[in-house]
């Protein structure tokens, strides 16, 4: 089939959609701004709930899209609607005309520097969830001082999520379970370490998440403290001091830690905003792209021929993203078919 389909973003959503479209007989074009496919999976170590290695998942997904046209290190210079098609010009000089565009630009993590009171970029031993995954992947990080092992580690939930003052009022959904996953992984590495999770609410909505939480408490002895961190400082040895209120006990607590991990929330990818303004796509009140309908039609944009999948419409887990990508592939297929029958009718 000749119809061109452009997928913007080669992460989990883009790869899965490309695979499904290939299966349906199309040859989609994947445009990826970075030098590799896989998106955030590339930076992650293991995935909840079965601790599947992220690399393995990414690899499996990449294997299946070999026949697609893939442009790495490529950005979109312009995108315009021309009659029934979209004309896209890329920074490598190629221009494409396509019938359908699938936006899979995903998310980016909230910039933890903005929550200055937590000391990211200021104190020596404060990192983010993504930094920790990188360290799990074997990247060197001088902020994680594990010469003598780690004795105390803290996780701050909801950094830049559910936080109006940080300009981000929505829940990032996946950080609760990520924090518990990472806390357990830390505990597995350093069984004697004290691990604290400072949370507002724990939202264990997914398959087997609650089991994770119970394991974290029962088997690993992780301290779950309900209360937001009020203040982070540094002592003379450079250790991190965290002050918080334990709202269940009604008491202030103060702990000294070797490492503090900030669970940076999910915000809409800043590149998505550029794309949205080029195509005049509306943004929802949460800052993500606005779907045609948030109940029945999350994968369609209000513009004909533009489809969404994955975290560009809001925070999502990998399985949710994959399911959406499949749905989007089918929707694109239906769109092209109806388009064809409409044009042949009129002829």
């Amino acid at each position: 089939m000749k119809e061109n389909i452009v997928i913007i973003g080669g992460g989990a959503a883009g790869l899965e959609a490309a695979y499904q479209l290939l299966t349906l007989g199309y040859t989609p074009i994947i445009i990826e701004k970075s030098g590799h496919l896989g998106g955030h999976l590339y930076d992650w170590n293991r995935l909840f709930p079965d601790m599947t290695p992220a690399k393995q998942v990414a690899k499996a997904m990449m294997e299946r899209v070999k026949d697609a046209n893939i442009f790495l290190n490529t950005e979109i210079i312009s995108i315009d609607k021309k009659d029934d098609a979209y004309a896209i010009v890329l920074n490598n000089g190629i221009s494409i005309s396509c019938t359908a565009v699938l936006v899979t630009t995903g998310f980016q993590l909230f910039d933890a520097h903005k929550k200055e009171e937590y000391g990211y970029g200021i104190y020596d031993h404060v990192i983010t969830n993504k930094d920790l995954e990188g360290w799990f992947n074997g990247n060197k990080d001088r902020r994680v001082d594990d010469k003598d092992g780690l004795k105390a580690v803290g996780f701050v939930h909801c950094v830049g999520s559910r936080d109006i003052k940080a300009g981000n009022s929505q829940c990032s959904k996946v950080c609760c379970i990520t924090a518990i996953k990472q806390a357990i992984e830390m505990k597995e590495k350093y069984p004697d370490a004290e691990v604290y999770c400072f949370y507002m609410d724990l939202r264990m909505f997914g398959k087997k998440y609650e089991d994770f939480y119970i394991n974290g408490q029962k088997d690993h002895g992780i301290h779950f403290i309900r209360g937001r961190v009020s203040e982070v400082s540094e002592n003379i040895d450079g250790k991190v001091i965290v002050k918080a209120e334990d709202t269940l006990n009604g008491k202030p607590i103060k702990v000294t830690l070797d490492l503090l991990v900030l669970m940076a929330g999910i915000v809409c990818n800043s590149d998505t905003a550029k794309l949205a303004s080029a195509l005049k796509l509306p943004t929802d009140t949460d800052g993500f792209l606005k779907s045609k309908d948030n109940v029945l039609n999350i994968i369609e944009s209000p513009k004909e021929g533009i489809f969404y999948a994955g975290a560009c419409t809001g925070p999502k887990t990998v399985p949710e993203t994959v399911a959406e990508a499949r749905a989007a592939a089918l929707a694109i297929h239906n769109h092209i078919n109806s388009h064809k029958s409409w044009t042949s009718d009129s002829e």
Binding site: K114, E116, E117, E231, V232, S233, E234
Partner: protein
């Protein structure tokens, strides 16, 4: 000059006499009541101030400069200044010259209140003299001055923008009656004196009028009704004066000596505060100044409306206006009669009763006392604890300059008390202040260095710290650089604008040192409105009720003001302003300590 009537009386003076009598008695009773409301200490202070030649001289100077010449208004807007001073000073001079004139010719008539006011009705010019034409000229001259002011006042009602005011107050009904009767007085006087100009004499204004409109004004049958109208206008104005904004005229005369005596507001409804409320002339300059005014709905939360509601005893609105305010103090800075809107509101908040009150008196100060014999004691404050980049920069600066210091609240400390003070919880604030005084005085430090202007203000205003010097880091850094202890490594081409934090600028009067420091680091540019007219960042903890979204509009407005010269970065000296601006700014927002730390050796 001869008298036309043996009785020296006509019934038309009655409206004036009643009005005059009423307003004098009213003001006298009000004065006595205010006096009785003052505490014994305040009474003593006021009495002592009246025998202190220095303060007395200031009283007299203020009376002339503020009440008659409106010097502050002139500085704000020339037209506005001329309008007010021409009416006030012109009228004052009409009364004074009128009395002198009466004294020169018929000193015996001075004891009837009305004679100098209606002089031209009762006398006839027997022959032209130099002395006579001199007085005629003066009287006509000052009448013209007042009339020109009245014309401007009428124009201002229609087009306030010409006078530099975007928004002005909505007048109440009694204010309108007062306004119209005031406007009527002087044209009526002109006409009345125009009638008698061919009898009692006149000068360029009244005489000319009499000649030009001779067919009307020359008819003496029309004379009496016009003098009646003039007297009625005066009577109405004086009758209604105590219930209108014009009460500011007598009130200001009382406020000046009270303020100069140095007494403070204690109750928002009594004593000094009451005089202040009545001194508010409802000019509405504070409406444009108020940072909340950017949201139209908040227009009626400016101090002028607080004063109006306080007069009306409208409790619901009084509480709403008092709680909403950010306490930035800008209304007081622009106020023509220097009414401190922030202090009035704090006094109002202090009336609220709380079911539960924290007790800080049990805190064990001894165990918290830092040891800093002969050292500088650095107090970062809770807001700086939330912006650790500032305290880190400050520590780095102190190390570079070789200052022997102790970080008082590195591991947490007691609140300075200012937030509680702003909330009107004065007793609790005083408990914290007492504890902190114990800590600081017991530390042996020589200097208390403070990063947060909110803390700095309360340390300055309310703490008794003996010989320990309290200094804000802007001033301290300026001194370190001036003394050569801190070497500027690289001044750059970047331009910086300085945001004056409310508590540092208007609160403590520190404007120059931060600018001095910044101009050593790069190019200093000024915001559209700066110094004592700087616009609050919107993050102030002064407001008890203002929501986050509503503050956003204020922050964005303040940022627009700061970036009028398109600076490369915004510099401030308050951790709260810094984090508030950083949330919405399109360019870097930094504390002065951070910039200095980056650019010094």
């Amino acid at each position: 000059m001869t008298e036309r009537f043996l009785s020296a009386y006509n019934n038309f003076v009655l409206p004036f006499l009643f009005g005059m009598g009423f307003v004098l008695i009213y003001c006298l009773i009000a004065m006595i009541r205010i006096w009785l409301q003052l505490s014994a200490d305040d009474k003593k202070k006021v009495l002592l101030s009246l025998v202190n030649p220095k303060i007395l001289l200031k009283d007299i100077r203020d009376l002339f400069c503020d009440c008659l010449f409106h010097v502050k208004l002139w500085k704000r807007n020339k037209l506005l200044g001329y309008m007010h001073s021409s009416i006030a000073f012109g009228w004052f001079m009409l009364i004074v010259v009128g009395h002198i004139e009466c004294f020169c010719y018929f000193p015996g008539r001075l004891k009837t209140f009305y004679y100098p006011i209606f002089f031209r009705f009762f006398v006839a010019e027997s022959q032209s003299t130099m002395q006579g034409s001199f007085f005629f000229f003066l009287m006509d001259f000052f009448l013209l001055m007042v009339l020109s002011g009245i014309v401007l006042a009428i124009i201002k009602r229609i087009r306030s923008r010409l006078f530099g005011m975007r928004r002005t107050t909505n007048l109440s009904l009694t204010d309108l009656i007062g306004l119209y009767s005031l406007w009527a007085i002087f044209p009526l006087r002109l006409f009345a004196e125009g009638f008698t100009a061919d009898i009692a004499g006149g000068s360029f204004l009244t005489k000319s009028l009499n000649i030009v409109f001779h067919s009307f004004l020359g008819n003496h049958l029309n004379m009496l009704p016009t003098w009646w109208a003039y007297s009625i206008a005066l009577g109405v104005f004086m009758f209604i004066l105590p219930f209108t904004r014009y009460m500011h005229i007598p009130s200001e005369i009382m406020l000046i000596p009270l303020r100069n005596a140095g007494i403070q507001i204690s109750n928002p409804r009594k004593g000094l505060a009451k005089v202040m409320v009545y001194t508010c002339p409802s000019c509405g300059v504070c409406i444009d100044a108020c940072p909340m005014g950017i949201t139209k709905r908040n227009n009626r939360d400016a101090t002028v409306y607080l004063n109006r509601q306080l007069k009306r005893k409208n409790e619901g609105r009084i509480e709403e206006i008092s709680d909403k305010c950010l306490l930035c103090g800008k209304c007081g800075a622009v106020c023509q009669v220097q009414i401190p809107g922030d202090k009035l509101r704090i006094a109002q908040r202090s009336l609220r009763k709380y079911d539960v009150s924290p007790d800080y008196s049990t805190i064990d100060a001894a165990s918290l006392t830092p040891r800093a014999e002969g050292k500088v004691l650095y107090f970062a404050g809770c807001m700086t604890a939330l912006t650790p980049a500032i305290s880190k920069a400050m520590e780095s600066i102190l190390r570079k300059a070789g200052v022997d210091y102790e970080f008082m609240d590195k591991d947490g400390g007691l609140c300075c008390g200012r937030p509680l003070w702003m909330a009107g919880r004065l007793e609790e604030a005083k408990q914290l202040i007492a504890k902190n005084e114990e800590l600081i005085n017991g530390s042996g430090a020589t200097t208390l260095l403070v990063s947060c202007p909110i803390c700095y203000r309360v340390f300055k205003e309310r703490y008794k710290l003996g010989d320990i010097r309290v200094v804000h880091h802007t001033v301290y850094i300026d001194e370190l650089i001036a003394a050569g202890k801190l070497k500027v490594e690289s001044a750059d081409e970047l331009s910086y604008v300085f945001h004056d934090p409310c508590e540092l600028g208007r609160g403590c009067g520190i404007y120059d040192q931060p600018r001095e420091v910044i101009s050593r680091m790069g190019k200093l540019v000024e915001a559209d409105k700066s110094h004592d007219e700087s616009i609050c960042c919107g993050g102030s903890m002064g407001s008890l009720t203002l929501g986050f979204e509503k503050r956003q509009a204020m922050t964005e407005n303040a940022l627009r003001n700061l970036t009028s010269e398109n600076p490369d970065a915004i510099v401030t000296a308050c951790p709260l302003c810094r984090s508030t601006f950083a949330r919405y700014a399109d360019r870097p927002v930094e504390d002065i300590a951070e910039i200095v730390d980056k650019k010094t050796l």
